[in-house]
C-alpha cells in the first residue's frame, strides 16, 4: 500500500507541477499589469519603475526561477492589488470553497444513494423512470442559469432566502449549495442506479438472497458496497469539477471562496495570488485523487474478498 501510495504521489506530482508551471507562463503572457495598477495618466517612467519593482522587466525564465526559488521558501509573493501575502489570501479563501464543496458533495452523494438505489430496485418502474428523467435534467442544467433563477425566485419574488453572502447563517448556504449540487447529484444518481442494477444481478447478491437476507440488507450491505467503486470514481471527477461550478457560483453569490479569488486575480493580473490559488487548488485536487485511489483500493479489496467468500 505504501509503495502504491508513493508511486501514485510521484506520478501525480508531475501534473501538479505542470499545472503550476503552465499557469505561470500563461499568466505572464497576458502582459505587464502596470496599466491596471497605475493611474491612467501615469508617466512612462512610473510604469518602468513599477515593472522593475515587481520583476516584470526580467525575461520570463528569470521570473520563473525567482518564483520557484520563492516557493521553495514557501513564499508565494505578495498581491499586487492588496499588498498582502498571496498565500495568506489563498488560504483565507480556501475554507469557504472547501466547506461549500464538502457539504455539496455529501448531500449530492446522499441524494444519489437514496434515489439511485430506489430506482435500481425496480428498473423501468415508475420510480426509476421519474428519477431517471429528473436526474438527467439535473445533470443538464447550466449552473449559472439556475443561480440567477434561484435568486430571482427565492430571494426576490418570494423573499424567503437571502440573495447572497455568507452572513445570514444557514439560509445563506441554501442557494449556493442547491445550485452546486444539482449537477453532481444528477450524474451520481445515474451512476449509482446503473452500478446497483448490475450489483443486484451479480452472483453473490443472489447467494445472499438465497440465504434469506432481507431486501434492505441485500441492498445496504452487499449491493451498495459493490456499486461504490464506480460511484467513487465519478464522485472524484465531479468534486474536481465543483471548482468549475464554484467559479461561477461564488461570483454570483458573493461567496468569498477560491473560485472568485482566482477569477478576480486573473482579471486584475494579480499573478502572485493567481499562482497561489492555482497551486492550492492543484494540491487539493492532488490530495483528493490520492484519497480516491486509497478509497478505491480499500473498497476493491473488500469487494473481492466478499465475492470470494460468497462463491
Amino acid at each position: 500500500m505504501l509503495t502504491f501510495l508513493r508511486r501514485r504521489a510521484l506520478t501525480s506530482l508531475l501534473p501538479l507541477l505542470a499545472v503550476v508551471l503552465g499557469v505561470f507562463v500563461l499568466a505572464r503572457l497576458t502582459g505587464n499589469p502596470a496599466a491596471l495598477y497605475l493611474p491612467e495618466n501615469a508617466t512612462a517612467e512610473a510604469r518602468e519603475q513599477f515593472s522593475a519593482a515587481n520583476g516584470f522587466d526580467k525575461p520570463i525564465w528569470a521570473q520563473l526561477i525567482d518564483y520557484f526559488a520563492g516557493v521553495a521558501r514557501l513564499d508565494f509573493g505578495t498581491s499586487l492589488r492588496t499588498g498582502e501575502d498571496a498565500a495568506t489570501m489563498a488560504l483565507r479563501a480556501f475554507p469557504a470553497t472547501l466547506q461549500l464543496a464538502v457539504v455539496t458533495m455529501v448531500l449530492a452523494i446522499a441524494v444519489a444513494i437514496v434515489v439511485g438505489c430506489w430506482a435500481a430496485l425496480r428498473p423501468n418502474g415508475l420510480a426509476d423512470r421519474v428519477s431517471g428523467m429528473l436526474s438527467m435534467t439535473a445533470a443538464s442544467v447550466p449552473d449559472f442559469w439556475l443561480a440567477i433563477l434561484g435568486i430571482w425566485v427565492f430571494a426576490i419574488i418570494l423573499g424567503v432566502l437571502p440573495t447572497s453572502g455568507v452572513d445570514a447563517g444557514g439560509a445563506s448556504w441554501v442557494l449556493p449549495i442547491a445550485v452546486l449540487m444539482v449537477r453532481p447529484a444528477g450524474v451520481l444518481t445515474q451512476v449509482v442506479r446503473g452500478a446497483m442494477i448490475s450489483a443486484l444481478g451479480s452472483p453473490y447478491v443472489k447467494v445472499a438472497r438465497a440465504k434469506g437476507a432481507s431486501e434492505g440488507r441485500v441492498v445496504a450491505r452487499h449491493a451498495l458496497k459493490n456499486a461504490a467503486p464506480p460511484a467513487l470514481t465519478v464522485a472524484g471527477d465531479l468534486a474536481v469539477g465543483l471548482i468549475n461550478g464554484a467559479v461561477v457560483v461564488e461570483s454570483i453569490f458573493g461567496w468569498p471562496g477560491i473560485g472568485k479569488l482566482m477569477i478576480d486575480a486573473i482579471l486584475q493580473r494579480d499573478f502572485a495570488v493567481l499562482q497561489a490559488a492555482v497551486a492550492l487548488t492543484a494540491i487539493s485536487i492532488f490530495v483528493l485523487n490520492i484519497a480516491i485511489d486509497i478509497g478505491y483500493a480499500l473498497l476493491d479489496a473488500r469487494v473481492r474478498n466478499k465475492a470470494g467468500a460468497a462463491a
Partner: protein
C-alpha cells in the same frame, strides 16, 4: 457493521463541514434584520483592495476611505465646484509659486494623537512626491507637476512651493488625505489611521468591512455610529439586497437592476465616447468620423438600453466641470446624412469598406455590449465595416493608454472618462493633446490652446477650455461622444441621503441620516 461505517462516514464529513463552517464563514454574525441601532449597511460593487489614503483617487478605495476614515485639507463641493475648508481653515497664494495653508486646530487622529503641520507635510510629501509607492493620487494628480517643496513654519501652518505657477494646487491638494507622520513611506497601508469621523472596527477580507464612529472627532458626530460595507459584483444582487432589507444602500446600479422604488438617480461624473485612431483608414477621413458620430442613436440607447439613465453627451466632460462648453449640443442621429457622408468619402477614394474594430471593456457600464452592437449594426447599414471586440480591463487598457498596441489598425475605442477633479485640465491634456497619455489625435493648434489655458483662472479659464472642446470637435473630431452617464443608487426607506456627482468616488457617511 458496514452500514454503520457508511453512516459514520457521512456523519463525519457532515460534522467536518459544520466544524469548518464554524471556523471562518458562518460565525461572522447573524444581524440580517433591518437597520438596527445606528448601523448603516452599504453594498459596493467591489471590495476595496486596501484603504490606503494615497490611493484615494482609486474609486474602490476612495469611496470608503475619503472623508470617512481620513480627511483632506480641503474638499471640493461636488455641486458648486467650490473648494471648502476641511482640515485647513484657509489657504492663500502668497507668491505665484507658493501656497500657504492654515490648519484647523484641535484635530485629533482616531488613536488620540494630535494632528499637526508635521503630519500634513509628511502626508503631502508621501502622496505627491513619493514615486516608489506608485500611489494612484501621485500619478493622477501630481504626475505632471514635478515635486513639491514643503515646509511647516509652525504647528498650524504648511507651505507648498511649486515648480511653476499652479492655480490648481488647492484642487490637487484636495486629493491628499491626511495621515500620521509615522506612516510607512515604502509600503501601502491596508488599514490607516485618520482624522475622519470613522475608524476601522474590523475587516474580514472577502466578506465585510465595519467602520465605527469615535468620540474625539473634531466635527459633528455622524448620525450612524456604525457602517458595514459588503460587496457584490452583480448589480441585480446589490439591488435585491436593498429591496430585501439585507442592506440599506447599494451603489452603481443600472436602470434594470431592479432597485424599484428604492432607486435614486444620480449623475456619476462619467462620460462615454468612441475614440478614433485618426491616422488609420477609413477612420483617417473626417467625414467617416462625422458619419459615425451621426450614426449613434444616443436617445435610443439612453431610452431603450440605459433605461433613461444619462444625457446625450456633446463633449468629454459633464456640466459642472470647469471648462464645460454650454454652447455645444449632442450630434443628431441622422443615418441618411451619415450615409451621404460615407458615400462622398467613398467617391473620393476613401476605402470606407475597410474593417475597423470597435473595442469595448466588458461590463465597463451597464449594457455596453448592447450599445456597441446597436452602433455596429447602424454602421453596417451606412456601408461601414466594423467588428466588435470586447476585452477585459487589462487587455482594453493596452489600447486605451500609451504605449499603444503597435500596428493595431483602425480602432474606435469605447472609453469612459470620469473627471473627479472638476476641472477640464484633468481631461484635455490626457485626451486631446497630441502626446496625451490617452490621445490618438490632436493638432498643433489644439495643443497650443490646451497649453495656453493651463495657467488661466476664473472666467478666462472657463472660456479657454470651452474653446478647446469646441476646437476638438470641429477641427479634429477624434471622438464621438455618447452620454454623460447617470447611475442608480438604491436607498432603503429608513435612510435619508441624496447622492451627488461625487457619490461614486467619495461617499461621506456623515451625510447619511436615519429617516424620521
Amino acid at each position: 457493521m458496514n452500514k454503520t461505517r457508511t453512516t459514520a462516514l457521512i456523519a463525519a464529513s457532515a460534522a467536518l463541514s459544520v466544524i469548518a463552517s464554524g471556523c471562518s464563514v458562518a460565525n461572522s454574525g447573524g444581524n440580517g434584520s433591518g437597520a438596527a441601532s445606528g448601523t448603516l449597511r452599504i453594498v459596493l460593487p467591489q471590495e476595496p483592495p486596501t484603504l490606503e489614503p494615497c490611493e484615494a483617487s482609486l474609486t474602490a478605495t476612495g469611496v470608503v476611505t475619503r472623508s470617512n476614515i481620513t480627511e483632506p485639507l480641503l474638499e471640493r463641493n461636488p455641486t458648486s465646484g467650490a473648494l471648502e475648508p476641511k482640515l485647513a481653515t484657509e489657504w492663500t497664494q502668497t507668491e505665484p509659486t507658493l501656497w500657504t495653508f492654515k490648519l484647523r486646530p484641535g484635530v485629533k487622529f482616531s488613536d488620540g494623537s494630535e494632528f499637526t503641520s508635521e503630519d500634513a507635510v509628511k502626508a503631502i510629501d508621501r502622496t505627491a512626491n513619493n514615486t516608489t509607492l506608485a500611489c494612484n493620487v501621485q500619478g493622477y494628480v501630481f504626475g505632471q507637476t514635478g515635486p513639491l517643496t514643503l515646509a511647516a513654519p509652525d504647528a498650524t501652518t504648511v507651505t507648498i512651493k511649486t515648480q511653476e505657477a499652479d492655480p490648481l494646487l488647492p484642487l490637487r491638494v484636495s486629493f491628499i488625505e491626511m495621515t500620521k507622520r509615522d506612516i510607512s513611506t515604502t509600503e501601502k497601508v491596508r488599514e490607516p489611521i485618520g482624522t475622519g469621523p470613522f475608524k476601522i472596527a474590523s475587516w474580514t477580507a472577502g466578506q465585510k468591512l465595519t467602520l465605527s464612529s469615535w468620540d474625539g472627532y473634531w466635527g459633528a458626530k455622524p448620525a450612524y455610529t456604525t457602517a458595514e460595507y459588503q460587496w457584490r459584483e452583480e448589480g441585480t444582487v446589490r439591488a435585491a439586497m436593498v429591496v430585501n432589507g439585507e442592506a440599506d444602500v447599494a451603489t452603481n446600479l443600472g436602470a434594470d437592476d431592479g432597485a424599484g422604488d428604492t432607486a435614486v438617480q444620480y449623475p456619476n461624473n462619467e462620460t462615454t465616447a468612441l475614440r478614433f485612431t485618426n491616422d488609420q483608414a477609413p477612420l483617417n477621413d473626417i467625414r467617416v468620423r462625422q458619419a459615425i458620430d451621426m450614426l449613434i442613436d444616443r436617445d435610443g440607447i439612453i431610452t431603450s438600453l440605459f433605461g433613461g439613465l444619462g444625457k446625450p453627451a456633446s463633449q468629454l466632460i459633464g456640466p459642472g466641470v470647469i471648462g464645460y462648453n454650454e454652447a455645444m449640443t449632442p450630434t443628431k442621429y441622422d443615418p441618411a446624412a451619415a450615409k451621404a457622408l460615407v458615400d462622398a468619402a467613398k467617391a473620393d477614394g476613401v476605402p470606407v469598406g475597410t474593417q475597423f474594430r470597435i473595442i469595448g471593456r466588458t461590463s465597463q457600464f451597464p449594457k455596453i455590449a448592447e450599445s456597441i452592437e446597436l452602433m455596429q449594426s447602424a454602421f453596417a447599414q451606412a456601408g461601414l465595416n466594423a467588428k466588435i471586440e470586447m476585452m477585459d480591463t487589462s487587455a482594453q487598457l493596452k489600447y486605451q493608454l500609451r504605449p499603444f498596441v503597435p500596428d493595431a489598425g483602425p480602432i474606435a475605442l469605447m472609453v469612459m472618462h470620469g473627471n473627479q477633479a472638476g476641472d477640464a485640465a484633468f481631461t484635455v491634456g490626457q485626451y486631446f493633446a497630441t502626446d496625451g497619455a490617452q490621445s490618438t489625435g490632436g493638432t498643433p493648434d489644439l495643443d497650443a490652446k490646451i497649453k495656453a489655458a493651463a495657467p488661466l483662472t476664473d472666467a478666462a479659464r472657463q472660456a479657454a477650455y470651452a474653446d478647446v472642446f469646441k476646437t476638438q470637435t470641429d477641427a479634429v473630431r477624434g471622438f464621438a461622444f455618447l452620454a454623460n452617464m447617470e447611475a442608480v443608487l438604491a436607498r432603503a426607506k429608513t435612510v435619508d441621503y441624496t447622492p451627488d456627482a461625487a457619490t461614486g468616488d467619495e461617499m461621506r457617511l456623515a451625510d447619511f441620516k436615519p429617516k424620521a
